[in-house]
Symmetry: C2
Amino acid sequence: MPSTNFEKPHKRYNILTDEWVLVSPHRTKRPWQGKVEDVDEEQRPQYDPKCYLCPGNERMGGAVNPQYKDTFVFQNDFAALMEDQGTAEVSEGLLRVQEERGTARVICFSPDHSLTMPEMSVDALAQVVKVWKREFADLAKDPQISNVQIFENKGPIMGCSNPHPHGQIWAQSSVPNEIAKRTATQVKHFAETGKSLLGEYLFQELEAGERIVCENDYFVCLVPFWAVWPYETMIVPRRHFQAVTDMTEQEELAFAEILSKITIRYDNLFKCSFPYSAGMQQRPTDDQDYSGWHFHYSFYPPLLRSATVKKFMVGYEMFANPQRDITAEMAAKTLRELPEVHYKQAMH
Amino acid sequence: MPSTNFEKPHKRYNILTDEWVLVSPHRTKRPWQGKVEDVDEEQRPQYDPKCYLCPGNERMGGAVNPQYKDTFVFQNDFAALMEDQGTAEVSEGLLRVQEERGTARVICFSPDHSLTMPEMSVDALAQVVKVWKREFADLAKDPQISNVQIFENKGPIMGCSNPHPHGQIWAQSSVPNEIAKRTATQVKHFAETGKSLLGEYLFQELEAGERIVCENDYFVCLVPFWAVWPYETMIVPRRHFQAVTDMTEQEELAFAEILSKITIRYDNLFKCSFPYSAGMQQRPTDDQDYSGWHFHYSFYPPLLRSATVKKFMVGYEMFANPQRDITAEMAAKTLRELPEVHYKQAMH
Ligand SMILES: O=P(O)(O)O[C@H]1O[C@H](CO)[C@@H](O)[C@H](O)[C@H]1O
Ligand SMILES: O=P(O)(O)O[C@H]1O[C@H](CO)[C@@H](O)[C@H](O)[C@H]1O
């Protein structure tokens, strides 16, 4: 596609959600006089006696963490979802309520309080992938669970209340909005063509090249054509499969490797511990036919200009449409050209 | 609806967007150890020589503001939308681009740099309503404009880069996502029943009472049953009309009055200048039949627990579903019971 199409304001179509994003490339020239965030420069110890995720420490509610060596999973002490309720749907006129059953778990990625994903070894990350697999399998087999959402909030700016490296799983009895959208488009495309929508898209992106950030034998990391967040990326497997549980051992390792590569690039971008929310996007678990689903893993990072200036998704974005300032191509080029060695490592 | 349905995690249906929100009332018991925002306690002068919105000052780009007495509208110097482009749709394989034409304007609500909406008089707010009317009419008559989005970002936490009281208008050649959703549901309901969806909903809410915050002869302010943001509210006119331009003079004044009432309550909630994004939700302007549309005006405020602790819409919310901690009923009760005199005024 000729890049002259991208110089003026335009909209791009998201094939997975059937929605548009407004792109205003010239807007980066706008000087920023607004809010500036704090940089999180705290040097953290490997063990923090006050951290409720560190090995051996007591959690709110009294449970004591084991002396775990790699990962550790427990039930969220303040889960947004609970088991054992009726799931009746009640409606009264125009008010509709549906009870929601489920469970929430916390996954500590490492016993070392001072680490974050980009600072962990690929082997340690492969352990995390194995745990995601195990937890997804365990929750998916529950007939009351229709969706298992695996995600990570990283950094105080992303509402993360504890710097100890960890992620979460929220599993629930219905299929949430965002997954429903991605299911509708992928299932439809597969029914019509017998092909994976995301697989075909990946093929096109590999041909074009300009939005690719990094790749290995099994996965490609790219800035989606329709990215909303300034440095949003998506990891897509070359092979068409539906969930983390479908990964072979080679894929597990390759996934760990690409997670390491992209998160190191992120930290290197503004030389800071780069905040984001990351989420695993995969088939629902209510045993319908989801052959069309193509696993992906996305990063939604808020920073735009520097370690301290983020993109605000407010006013227009909330009431009308997501809007971005830099193009996906600009973001991909910047990320692609960054070194694959973590800046802290490079300083030694 | 029996309130026992609301004590455990449940989902509520948004009749206007056809989406669900997850409500987890017990989650407020969770202690907060995460990010704490700064309170914006700066005392501002009535005139700031460095503010590019104050009367008589020079803006970026060289234009000089007039010595305006009530409101002042100008074209945004860094507009996300521009006029005079082709609006061709281009697609290449799975990549779809649509050029977007449009314009963006800034509306200064008052020449007084130190004020915010809750501190302005109802008469001054009525002037703002008149300007919204005029600007909407002006932009709507342009055959190239399909949607006029009027909004306000208030407070640094909402990406507002200048405290001078002001709002924005982004007008564009296509209908954005959120307006498209609200159009689909309302037009469908009207086609099927000949009645306003929101009008029927309002009737039901007035009967129930528990989500009403305040009202006058022409407008009702309530916490929608499906609210996403902790203290989200919506102003709905009792009369079924489609756009701000349909307001009678009495309605203009009554709208100004209810804007004053709700924003004063907001400031009183945590005794701070309460941040929010507010948006006017009204029919598109591409001259189709939008009889089903029922004008509304919504506030999406981020604060949850105090002047410094907000709700983070991250991880689960981004990848799965919006989720809230307090119920709409709890929020409405809290707002309803707050005084209607601004706390700064009350101190005198
Ligand atoms: O135009 P402003 O106030 O500079 O910018 C603010 O509002 C815009 C519209 O909601 C957003 O796109 C920006 O991210 C935000 O910082
Ligand atoms: O569960 P946490 O990490 O305490 O909380 C964080 O993640 C949740 C899931 O995305 C959000 O609902 C919260 O607003 C956020 O602060």
